[in-house]
């Protein structure tokens, strides 16, 4: 009697609400709803936002089964999925380079993927991404190679690239230009963030002349762990910012081996890479962090100060090591000519 009157009020809620609810569940719980009742059987299959993280796998110390388990789960789930997938996020330290990842990416590219997040562990993964609707890309892990082959709509890229020494050595022999392979086809890029070995990765390969495209929409660039003693890495940064007329915010974090850096040759900013009349017309904020005060770093700051007519803030944070260099840094900073009368130079000590 009571049961007849008590209605199931959740199953008939609009699809958008069901999706909101299921997206707030860990993916396994969401898939499990398929055995609740006939109405729920395929509700999970229309999820457009799939998140696979550490909570997916079973707790196990043995890496092999956990990886297989996760691979199977994701593959099976993708097979059963129905409809577009707009967001796909995979974070697993267990997942090494796996041919499955390539297959998943191929599958996702046909499912209208717009946002892709891959945070992987160790491995030797060569990644090729062809996803015509992809707008947001976030990668983290140990990659042998990353190639953005068909991603014309990319708006935001964030890459944290780990590298072991032998991979770095292998890179030196590569002949293809990584800068072009990675940034050659992203004309609508608005935001670029690179961590750890990303700048080094981009610096490898023959870089002749101007990059193939101008980054007309690029507003924010954040590059961490840039080794200023490596001329090639500095050239990558220059190449990028010189061809980004809309650049507003720049953050560079150094990682200089000071002994090598102080002996490095003088930086020639008037070379092929940047014409002397180069102006950063919209650059307003520059943050230089982890600065060791080595010549290349100071030259770079001087270059920015002298060519940014609307600059508001130039903040310099010294690295925690080598406190002796700070005084010299300050003395040099004082001297630099500023193109912008409003520019404020702040030296951040903690």
């Amino acid at each position: 009697m009571d049961n007849v009157l008590v209605r199931d009020s959740i199953s008939d809620l609009p699809e958008s609400i069901i999706e909101t609810i299921l997206t707030k569940l860990p993916i396994r719980d969401a898939v499990r709803t398929s055995i609740l009742s006939t109405k729920w059987r395929y509700k999970w299959a229309n999820l457009t936002h799939l998140v696979f993280d550490g909570k997916c796998g079973t707790l196990c110390n043995d890496k092999g089964p956990v990886e297989d388990n996760l691979v199977k789960f994701i593959t099976r789930l993708l097979f059963l999925h129905d409809g577009p997938i707009h967001n796909f996020s995979l974070s697993s330290a267990y997942l090494q380079s796996s041919p499955d990842i390539d297959q998943w990416l191929l599958f996702l590219s046909r499912k209208d993927i717009k946002e892709l997040v891959l945070e992987l562990g160790e491995g030797d993964l060569a990644l090729t991404i062809r996803a015509p609707n992809l707008k947001y890309l976030c990668l983290e892990g140990e990659f042998k190679d990353i190639c953005l082959e068909n991603t014309p709509l990319l708006v935001s890229i964030s890459v944290a690239m780990y590298m072991t020494d032998d991979i770095a050595e292998r890179f030196e022999q590569s002949s293809s230009c990584n800068f072009t392979k990675f940034l050659g086809g992203v004309p609508f890029l608005e935001r670029l963030i690179g961590h750890i070995y990303f700048t080094k990765y981009l610096s490898i390969g023959n870089q002749l002349g101007k990059p193939p495209i101008t980054y007309g929409h690029l507003q924010i660039v954040e590059l961490y762990q840039v080794s200023f003693e490596d001329m090639k890495e500095i050239l990558v940064v220059l190449r990028l910012i010189v061809n980004s007329p809309s650049l507003e915010e720049l953050q560079i974090s150094g990682s200089s081996n000071t002994s090598a850096a102080t002996e490095a040759s003088d930086l020639d900013f008037g070379g092929k890479e940047c014409p002397t009349d180069c102006t950063f017309g919209l650059l307003k904020t520059v943050k230089m962090t982890d600065m060791s005060g080595v010549p290349h770093e100071m030259e770079f700051i001087k270059f920015l100060l002298g060519n940014s007519p609307v600059l508001k803030i130039m903040s310099v944070t010294p690295s925690v090591y080598g406190t002796d260099a700070r005084i010299n840094m300050l003395i040099e900073l004082l001297r630099f000519r500023r193109a912008s009368p409003d520019a404020e130079i702040t030296f951040i000590q903690d």
Binding site: R7, T20, S37, R76, Q103
Partner: protein, 371 residues
């Protein structure tokens, strides 16, 4: 200061007056105000049908609290927590009403509350909470591809069902002629096919894997004429899976003596079985190997087929003796060629053995593992 009011009309026709600042939190109402509606009693804003007077009152309470600018995040959060304490029916109604007014923060809040009621619960608990009908057939619930449940009770249930199904099939097989045998196969697969077709339009991938299953089954059954045919072929396929994993990872082990290799294979397979959340009898593992098979080149496939046949033959011939060997080896913890069989694997091997054969060489360890 003069407060401005607007007029809202419920779907039952009643009209009420509400502070504009409060109601403006709802985008739909905001839009209507901009077009001039709601400023007088004669021209009220018509609320969507999902908003009945009770829900409107709740929503207005919510808006009333949150539109005050000075409140701290802590205050807002604690209000929210108290606000959503209501029965599930009202919570669902409220979600629907908030959604129709596009009041996103409230939709998020109620959705989160509903998600919390689902997360971590068993299916029975969820059905009870939301009064869902338990209208899936047992077979639908056990459809392995769709049922990825952690619940140990369901796992045991599934194993019992799988065993029962196997027994029934065996019984049917023994009764009928070979033609019938094939029909039994067709039925079970067609059942699944029609079920899948009858549901939503399923992906082709699933269909192909099922028909592959049909062919594979027939081939394997023709090879093994014994009455233990089905279990062995299932086992083959599972070990097929294991061998794939095996060869993918460690090519070097091919040179190892056979005994060691079997142990590794079985160990691998069983690790997979036990670690997996899904509820499976070995025959259900089949689907995975078919899906994964697609990525393997023909040469490797042939190699695997040969290994499977070899394995099957060996299993059929000297399984009881081998079983003893494994068990005694495991207990002594002696390394077998280059691989050691961990104690856990030995017990798992024994469990599978028991599953396949009715009688078991009663080793106390073997008996203890069944959960």
């Amino acid at each position: 200061m003069m407060k401005s009011y607007i007029w809202l009309q419920n779907d039952d026709g009643s009209i009420q007056q509400v502070e504009q600042e409060v109601a403006k939190l709802c985008p739909i109402i905001c839009q209507e105000i901009h077009t001039g509606v709601g400023s007088s009693k004669q021209n009220p804003i018509s609320l969507p049908p999902q908003v009945n007077p009770a829900m409107l009152s709740l929503i207005l309470d919510y808006c009333q609290f949150h539109q005050v600018p000075g409140r701290s995040n802590k205050e807002r959060k604690s209000f929210d927590e108290k606000f959503i304490r209501m029965d599930t029916k009202r919570l669902c109604e409220l979600t629907s009403a908030a959604d129709s007014l596009q009041l996103k923060p409230l939709v998020d809040l109620t959705s989160r509350a509903l998600a919390r009621m689902i997360e971590g619960k068993t299916p029975e608990e969820i059905r009870e909470t939301f009064h869902l009908p338990d209208d899936l057939t047992e077979e639908e619930k056990l459809e392995p591809l769709k049922n990825m449940t952690d619940d140990p009770r369901i796992r045991v249930l599934n194993r019992l069902y799988a065993r029962k199904r196997k027994e029934l099939k065996e019984r049917d097989k023994l009764k009928n002629v070979e033609i019938e045998e094939e029909r039994v196969d067709d039925r079970s697969v067609d059942d699944l096919l029609s079920f899948i077709n009858g549901g939503k339009g399923d992906s082709k991938g699933v269909k192909t894997s099922k028909s592959k299953k049909k062919n594979r089954r027939r081939k394997d059954q023709q090879k093994n004429a014994s009455s233990n045919c089905i279990p062995i072929s299932d086992y083959d396929c599972s070990s097929n899976n294991a061998i794939e994993v095996h060869t993918k990872d460690s090519k070097g082990l091919n040179s190892v003596c056979h005994v060691g290799k079997i142990h590794n294979d079985v160990g691998e397979m069983l690790k997979l079985q036990d670690v997996e959340d899904e509820s499976f009898a070995p025959e259900d593992e089949f689907d995975d190997s078919d899906d994964i098979d697609d990525g393997i080149d023909p040469a490797m496939k042939e190699k695997i087929d040969r290994e499977v046949e070899d394995f099957a033959r060996r299993l059929n011939s000297d399984w009881p003796e081998r079983m003893q060997e494994i068990l005694s080896l495991g207990q002594q913890r002696r390394p077998v060629s280059t691989a050691t069989v961990p104690q856990g694997d030995v017990q798992k091997i024994a469990f599978i053995y028991r599953k396949i054969h009715v009688s078991v060489s009663s080793d106390s360890a073997a008996c203890r593992i069944l959960d």
